[in-house]
Amino acid sequence: MNFFDKVFEQRSRQLAQRSSRRGLLKGLGALLVGGASIPLLPVARAAGNESPGRPLEEGDPSSCDYWRYCAIDGFLCDCCGGSANTCPPGTEMSPVTWIGTCHNPADGRNYVISYNDCCGKSSCGACLCMRDEGDRPVYRPDKTNDINWCLGTSSASYHCSTAIVVGVAFDD
């Protein structure tokens, strides 16, 4: 009995010396706040293709058949030293663009595509692609791709076109 008494006395004295009265609150608080911040960690966003805003990708961005090019009218930047998302070196991406939607066969959804032109050099000349789906006459200037969209750039000379996914389309 004496032995147990001693052990328990020692343990409770140690506990009393090492822990504060508010220690439990502190620990509990840290646990709750820490737990709530777990979804904020970048890990959660690394899910990639599973997220609703990002399309499943398949196909060749240097081919006119690539799904994002459904409404394009011009040279593919992917063949000109850039990519479907970026301009070739030495050109400037136009912030003013024409916008359409394309169906992605890989995941069966429609996406909003921004066809930002790359400007500042003469025409690239490679991979001319004219699919023009959804193209409207020039009396709908925001929905026609027959005008030069190098607007808002320092040079108006057209080089090639990108096709950037900017969102998920809604069905009307």
């Binding site: 709750l32 706040v33 003013v96 916008i99 607007l151 389309a169």
Partner: protein, 141 residues
Amino acid sequence: MARLILLPIFFWSALALGTVDDSGRVVFDYQMNCQGCHTPDGAGAGSVPAMKGHVGVFLQSQEGREYLVRVPGSATSALSDERLAAVLNWIMYEFAGDSLQSPFIPYTASEVAPLREKPLNEVDAYRERLLRAIAGADARE
């Protein structure tokens, strides 16, 4: 006590998870009808005027409030009255920032409908006159 602590944490985690997004439709409408020229963040480019940090100025006069509906991009867009009102409200909430001086009364479909039947033909001069009048009213205050 525990409830008092748990409640804000619950709301915060709901915000952090934030998977429910009912602004999707209005963002899509902005993208399809406005973003091409007004750019994704409303900053504009070249001859396209910046809405970001400015667009709220128009609400300082009734004529200005109507202007935002009568401007051809709004009035003649393919959007229904409800969806046009929703896009205009979204633009105010997203882009107006400090340019919004008084509490914003949202546009409604019934307000927008008669206004868009009178689209502006000559926008540039009208806009300039409007902004001068608003700036003048500001200076007199």
